[in-house]
């Protein structure tokens, strides 16, 4: 029997209730710090914050329907490795997946975290989010409105979540220490579930009411819907991409701004290979290339850029879709990487971000595999 606590909004909103939970964790000594999004003083913007002083946790925003970049990387960067200090990390499923991938790449330290993920209905694009804010100037109302249908496994009508969110397959991440269950929970409440011993230890220090069961059928239904949309997306890929020219067509407007790479939580290189001399040739050599082929595109190597980035991180792509948001040319980078990533991961029976125990496909090998070539 998992430990499940009931967290009531008590009219102050679910985010404030989660803030209370976070403050309690620090004050009961369960964790030393909390990594959690907060509204700034204007209430207009949301930032990830690392909080040590409970009084500084004023305006928590863990459920705001907008994500200002995948914060998995920041969570990793702000959590000391092998630290005595434990940090409670409030993130969304895609961010949790990124943390799991990054921890395999030594860029995050899962063992120093109390990983807390919430059920996520998906987030909006910045424009949509602004529209929602206009409709609900009080962000407590905005969150309540956005999550109201979600308890029943539905999304708020009239606002489309980002494309990658439409086929995100996981609710609160099963490999978290604590999950914040919304789907299947009574409206206005959050069911706080310990999913690890560490989570249990922390929760057991809190004097809170035990929660009733969540409605698993509702959760199941929601997840199934997401999965079938993922399958649709994959099938659509097959229809759209028959040849590499089709693929080139998809990325044809790429201007090599590297925003996708900069926003990608997995792209962890301190200096990207595309900024090194690896692909550099002298001006004269460009001329000779033109002589050879008759024509070269400037800047060159758009395709090589995308394929190289795929080669480096597509097995770890967590489908957060931040690359798509970052692309000034509206290239569906996230969808492309999701589709390709799924295929490659399938070869190794691997799911990016599922479990820290799974080994990165390119980092290991088996002697008796993949033959005949």
């Amino acid at each position: 029997m998992k430990k499940r606590l009931k967290l009531d909004s008590n009219g102050h909103g679910m985010e404030e209730a989660l803030g209370r939970l976070a403050r309690l964790m620090i004050s009961t000594g369960g964790v030393d710090r909390v990594f959690i999004p907060q509204h700034d003083e204007t209430g207009e913007a949301v930032y990830a914050t690392l909080v040590a002083d409970v009084d500084a946790l004023k305006d928590p925003a863990p459920l705001v329907p907008y994500i200002n970049g995948n914060k998995g990387r920041e969570a990793g960067l702000s959590t000391p490795k092998n630290g005595e200090n434990k940090t409670a990390v409030f993130v969304r499923p895609c961010e949790a997946r990124a943390i799991i991938e990054l921890s395999k790449l030594m860029q995050a330290h899962r063992e120093s975290m109390l990983l807390i993920t919430s059920d996520c209905p998906g987030t909006l694009t910045l424009e949509d989010y602004k529209r929602l804010r206009e409709e609900h100037p009080d962000h407590r109302e905005e969150v309540a409105a956005f999550y109201a249908p979600f308890h029943g496994g539905e999304r708020l009508e009239g606002h489309e979540v980002r494309e990658c969110c439409t086929f995100c397959e996981s609710l609160a991440h099963p490999m978290s220490d604590i999950r914040l269950l919304l789907v299947g929970a009574p409206e206005g409440t959050v069911v706080v579930e310990a999913t690890s011993e560490a989570g249990e230890r922390v929760l057991s220090k809190l004097e809170m009411e035990e929660a009733a069961e969540v409605d698993e059928a509702v959760r199941e239904k929601f997840t199934e819907g997401q999965k079938s949309r993922h399958a649709e997306m994959e099938a659509h890929w097959d229809e759209v991409v028959h040849s590499v020219e089709d693929f080139m067509h998809l990325v044809q407007h790429c201007r090599r701004c590297y925003n996708c790479r900069a926003e990608c939580p997995i792209c962890y290189c301190r200096e990207c290979v595309f900024q090194t001399a690896t692909f550099e040739v002298t001006p004269d050599a460009f001329g000779r290339r033109a002589d050879q082929y008759g024509v070269v595109k400037m800047p060159p190597d758009t395709l090589v850029f995308h394929l190289t980035r795929m080669n480096h991180m597509v097995t770890s792509c967590v489908s957060c879709g931040q690359c798509t948001e970052a692309c000034p040319q509206k290239i569906p980078v996230g969808k492309i990487f999701s589709a390709v990533g799924r295929r490659v991961q399938d070869v190794f029976d691997y799911r990016a971000g599922a479990d820290t125990a799974d080994e990165l496909p390119h980092a290991v090998f088996r002697e008796d595999e993949l033959e005949p070539r």
Partner: protein, 1116 residues
């Protein structure tokens, strides 16, 4: 101005010359060319031809004077090319041309001066009457064998009374100096002119009396042939001394005797070729188009007289049909022949035939042979390839006679047709005689001065099989390492003298190489205490720092004789290379690896301030180090070098497509230019060597290798899988072929056990092996106790042996009367046992050998069979033995055993591989049916026993060991050496060596030689104090490293770790083996592999012609 000097102006340039200098000498020293015809430096000038006239302007006016003759005594203004001069020369040329219109030297002059036609009536003489020949003969040679005779139009050069001269020495000087090639010695000399022929080129071409004997001569300084030089013979001439401007000629040089104090002598004088003219019926020396195999080899050689073009001597035509006649002077019991087999000729002829076909696909070679003896490693496949893929015809027939067709000088070879048994004749354009190998005449003198013994054939009696310290073996070596006969190939009975190669018996290159190493090991055992005391260290110049300099690349393209140039248009590649970015020099060599070419590379580096070098030649595995070391000698870091393999990867594999091969060669060069452009210097670390050897396998080979290392002063771990030492040797009742003492094995084992340097590991195997040359780590597991030992060693020798193949053919296993040779051997019993009750035996050779899937010859079975047959005959004289064979391969002196067997009544029947004998068993005994190719009839035998010669098979566990050691196997499952000829006992992996049957089938004495050779090779590492780290290790660009540790996971050697403080990746240079797996996974090349930097490889992939960077490479 000194007293003897005078000021002149030459072509407007003022200069100062010594008083009395001729104008010609003054002009030459000023670099001004004046044409001459009758001038020769060694003679007083005559001014006869008038072609050298120049205009001399003095106060008294201007006039034309001959430059060669006119001595400058007063200040003068000289013009060598004024209008007046040119017009005078033109007139002279016109006159001379009229007399001698066909002389090339005059035609060239005429062309240069624009003289197109002559207005005078043409003559057809070739003599311009310059008199140079007459003056040379008279003034230089102190002989008047010819003079000017007649007057006016009748004036000419002739010997006195137009008779051939009796005083002429046929020295050839007159012909040498003649500017028009008019003089022919044969017209002058009364005797038979004997040209001085090149011994290097097998007397195919004449040579001068001052010469380089061959182009690879070291030092590359010409020598005077004192036997033939006129100056040395008569005291006359001396022209060379007069002509040599630098005074290099020294007639007074004497041979010098030097005394060296040495502790050991290695004697490897080689062999001589059988004088084929002794076989008069084969026409050598009588028919122009009959050559010896060595002569033909020179003809095939790119550096030979025909530059690799196959031309026959009589008319220079390209021969189509070429016959190779085997066993000329070998296997020949006639008085003028040699009874032994020369071992190498079969393979040599096959190779010559194949190469001839490569050089000229119209050549149709036919090889006439008795038995095809291709018993070396991989030779059988070569033979089959020659027959099946190269279209070479093999005819089994000994040729006794051939004759020449006078009109065509073609040769008709009379032979017995194998199919019909009838005499047949076949006409060939060229015949090559496989003249055998004989002992050098000088061996006798050498033997006397060294106090060693020669055998009846004049070869040295060598003993590789003595066990030091045992008192056993011939001659009783005392083995205390001071004055004993070490167990190298000890020569005769003399102490401290070791020999190798064909001095003891005809041998192939790999065997000769192994013997050299073997002899070295013998010397090293003897001199172990003095090791290193006289060593000198090679010094290199200080390394230039060119890391920041703009690349200046030199490219050297090798012709490799015609190996490359025969397919690839080398000048084209040179021209292309010169256009590549940063390439400031491009040139070609005939052989890049020759000493003088290496000197040129060094000079070019200095001259053109090169900071990077590319050589395009052969595979880097053979010469990369040589070239890299050369640029190091030139002051560059040796890793500013790349080698483009345009031979193995281009010319040899695209022989039919010269244009595409040339294009590919350009691209390969360009790739390496691109790579070297991004090269960075690598400074090597050194790590200490573990002075301990590991020998795997405790048979005769392993024990010898271990003992040799131990006696050289190294500790050795000897690992044997079985519970006792001895290996295959234990199974033999008597050794095959070797004349070992009966106690050989016991003596050897006792010596091994007695040596405190040897640690024995019986019942053990190596289960893990890692590390680098000089620093290996092995785990040895005792199979019985399960105990594991950890061993450190600097080098290891693999001597794991082979096994007798278990036959599946001829009903083996169904009837105990069908057995293998080893089984028969034990049935024969020892001396003290009663003779077996066997009246008749049929032996079948090549069972499961020499055909797929075992397309190799096991080398020992013929001798083994004959030996066993002889033993049976000895014990049981009435017994009948049939040996049913394909080719009898009793190579070398084993041939005598074959002859003895025939004389003793052993019967030999020959079968074809596609018509094998049939063996049936029944109640009335064994039946064997075979079609005998010799008598061309079916023979039926009812022997008491059928003995199968099944050959040797690789050990079944070789594959496992090859995986543990990470060394390759051949297709046949034996261990694969680094290079068949020049590195026969080395593995490609540094520090690992192989010997014995694990290498390939061979006799025990050959195994011993090989294992001693391997020990010498291992000692080249164990004797060092330190080894260089690998250059291809990786380094980390810390600024770029994110600490993701993918590299750590990739490393099989634990050389990659994360630094706990910084979280960045680190490299342990000693543990790193340079595989590059970590660099391959590093997403942004924070990990960089030396010599294989990512930017280098990326630039190699640029399209052809795309590399034109003139700046230093951008930093990575």
């Amino acid at each position: 101005m000194c007293v003897n000097a005078v000021r002149i102006t030459l072509d407007g340039v003022p200069m100062e010359v010594e008083l009395g200098t001729t104008i010609l000498a003054a002009a030459t020293s000023a670099g001004v060319t004046i044409p001459t015809l009758c001038h020769y430096g060694g003679l007083e000038p005559a001014g006869a031809c008038r072609i050298c006239v120049v205009e001399l302007k003095t106060e008294r006016g201007s006039r034309l004077v001959p430059a060669c003759h006119y001595a400058i005594e007063a200040p003068a203004d000289i013009s060598t090319s004024s209008e007046r001069v040119v017009s005078s020369r033109k007139m002279t040329i016109e006159l001379l041309l009229a007399r001698c219109p066909e002389v090339p030297a005059l035609q060239e002059l005429a062309a240069e001066y624009g003289v197109e036609t002559t207005r005078l009536p043409s003559d057809d003489d070739d003599c311009i009457l310059c008199g140079l020949c007459v003056r040379t003969c008279r003034d230089l040679m102190d002989t008047e064998a010819l003079s000017m005779v007649g007057r006016g139009h009748g004036r000419r050069v002739a010997p006195p009374y137009d008779k051939k001269s009796l005083v002429c020495m046929s020295c050839g000087a007159c012909a040498f100096v003649c500017p028009t090639n008019k003089i022919k010695i044969a017209d002058l000399y009364a005797g038979r002119t004997s040209e001085n022929l090149s011994t290097y080129d097998e007397r195919l071409v004449p040579v001068g009396n001052i010469r380089l004997n061959y182009s690879q001569q070291i030092p590359k300084v010409p020598v005077i042939d004192r036997e033939n030089c006129v100056h040395f013979v008569t005291g006359a001439c001396g022209a060379c001394e007069k002509i040599c401007n630098v005074g290099a000629i020294d007639y007074d040089q004497e041979d010098r005797e030097e005394t060296l104090n040495v502790g050991a002598v290695i004697v490897t004088p080689g062999y001589d070729s059988y004088d084929a003219s002794q076989k008069g019926a084969l026409g050598y020396g009588r028919y122009e188009n009959v050559l010896t195999n060595l002569q033909f080899e020179r003809i095939l050689s790119a550096s030979g007289p025909c530059e690799g073009e196959i031309r026959r001597p009589s008319d220079g035509a390209h021969p189509r049909k070429v016959a190779f006649l085997q066993c000329v002077g070998s296997r020949d019991t006639n008085e003028e022949g040699k009874p032994y087999c020369s071992s190498i000729c079969c393979m040599a002829s096959i190779k010559e035939a194949v190469i001839a076909r490569e050089h000229d696909s119209n050549v149709e070679p036919t090889i006439f042979y008795i038995d095809m003896r291709t018993q070396g490693k991989e030779f059988e496949r070569y033979f089959e390839g020659a027959r099946n893929d190269h279209g070479i015809v093999f005819k089994r027939s000994s040729v006794a006679k051939l004759y020449e067709k006078p009109a065509t000088k073609n040769l008709v070879v009379r032979h017995v047709d194998e199919e019909t048994g009838e005499i047949a004749e076949e006409e060939f354009d060229l015949v090559v005689l496989a003249a055998g190998l004989v002992a050098h005449e000088s061996n006798a003198g050498l033997a006397e001065s060294l106090n060693i013994t020669l055998n009846e054939h004049g070869f040295c009696e060598g003993h590789t099989y003595q066990v030091p310290g045992s008192g056993g073996g011939n001659g009783g070596g005392n083995g205390d390492g001071t004055a004993g006969q070490g167990a190298g190939a000890t020569a005769g009975s003399a102490a401290g003298i070791f020999t190798g190669g064909a001095f003891t018996e005809p041998r192939y290159i790999p065997e000769a190489v192994v013997e050299g190493s073997c002899a070295a090991s013998g010397a090293a055992r003897l001199l172990a205490e003095a090791r290193g005391t006289l060593a000198r260290k090679k010094k290199y110049p200080k390394q230039l720092d060119v890391a920041k300099a703009v690349p200046r690349i030199g490219v050297f393209i090798c012709r490799c004789g015609i190996n490359i140039a025969g397919t690839v248009n080398v000048p084209d590649v040179v021209a292309y290379s010169a256009t590549l970015g940063n390439v400031v020099h491009a040139s070609e060599f005939v052989y890049s690896c020759s000493q003088d070419s290496l000197e040129v590379i060094k000079e070019t580096v200095a001259e053109h301030k090169l900071n990077r070098v590319v050589v395009a030649s052969c595979t880097p595995r053979t010469h990369e180090y040589l070239f890299a070391d050369t640029i190091r000698e030139a002051g560059l870091n040796r890793y500013y070098f790349e080698l483009a393999s345009i031979r193995e990867h281009c010319s040899w594999v695209h022989m039919q497509e010269p244009e595409l091969a040339t294009q590919k060669a350009k691209e390969l060069v360009e790739m390496m230019v691109s790579k070297v452009r991004g090269a960075r210097p690598v400074s090597l670390e050194y790590s200490p060597v573990v002075h301990r050897g590991l020998v795997i396998g405790g048979g005769v080979s392993g024990m010898n290798a271990a003992l040799s290392l131990a006696e050289q002063g190294y500790e050795v771990d000897l690992v044997e899988k079985e519970g006792k030492l001895g290996g295959n040797y234990l199974k033999h009742r008597r050794p095959v072929w070797n004349l070992y003492s009966p106690t050989y094995l016991e003596d050897l084992e006792a010596a091994v056990r007695a040596n405190s340097n040897v640690t024995l590991h019986l019942n053990s195997e190596v289960i893990l092996f890692s590390g680098v040359v000089g620093n290996f780590y092995a785990e040895v597991c005792n199979r019985e106790t399960g105990e594991e030992h950890e061993i450190s060693c600097g080098a290891a020798v693999v001597a794991t042996g082979a096994v007798e193949r278990e036959p599946v053919e001829y009903g083996y296993g169904t009837d105990e009367r069908i057995m293998t040779q080893l089984e028969f051997e034990s049935l024969l019993g020892g001396e003290d046992e009663p003779a077996p009750d066997i009246k008749s035996v049929a032996m079948i050779q090549c069972v499961g050998s020499r055909e797929e899937p075992n397309l190799y010859c096991s080398r020992i079975c013929c001798t083994q069979a004959i030996q066993n047959a002889m033993e049976l005959k000895r014990r049981n004289p009435d017994a009948t033995v049939h040996i049913i064979y394909r080719d009898i391969r009793t190579y070398g002196v084993r041939e005598e055993l074959y002859r003895e067997a025939r004389e003793a009544g052993v019967l030999f029947l020959r079968y074809d591989v596609d018509r094998k004998p049939e063996v049936t068993t029944g109640p009335d005994g064994l039946k064997l049916k075979v079609y005998d190719r010799i008598s061309r009839r079916e023979v039926e035998l009812g022997p008491d026993a059928v003995v199968l010669s099944t050959g040797l098979a690789p050990r079944p566990d070789s594959e496992e060991l090859s995986k543990v050691l990470r060394v390759p196997l051949t297709r046949d499952g034996f261990f694969l050496e680094a290079h068949a000829k020049i590195r026969p006992v080395d593995f490609t992996s540094e520090g690992l060596f192989l010997a014995g049957l694990a290498h390939s089938p061979r006799f025990t004495n050959e195994c011993v030689t090989q294992s001693l050779g391997a020990s010498a090779r291992a000692a080249t590492i164990l004797s060092k104090d330190k080894v260089e780290s690998k250059a291809e290790i990786v380094e980390v660009n810390l600024a770029r490293c994110s600490g993701c540790a993918l590299c750590v996971g990739m490393c099989p050697y634990e050389a990659r770790q994360l630094d706990p403080e910084s979280g960045k990746a680190t490299v342990n240079d000693i543990l790193c083996q340079g595989c590059g797996a970590c660099a391959g996974i590093c997403p942004n090349k924070a990990t960089v592999q030396h010599l294989y930097r990512q930017t280098q490889i990326m630039h190699m992939l640029e399209p052809v012609g795309a590399q034109a960077g003139t700046e230093a490479e951008a930093s990575e």
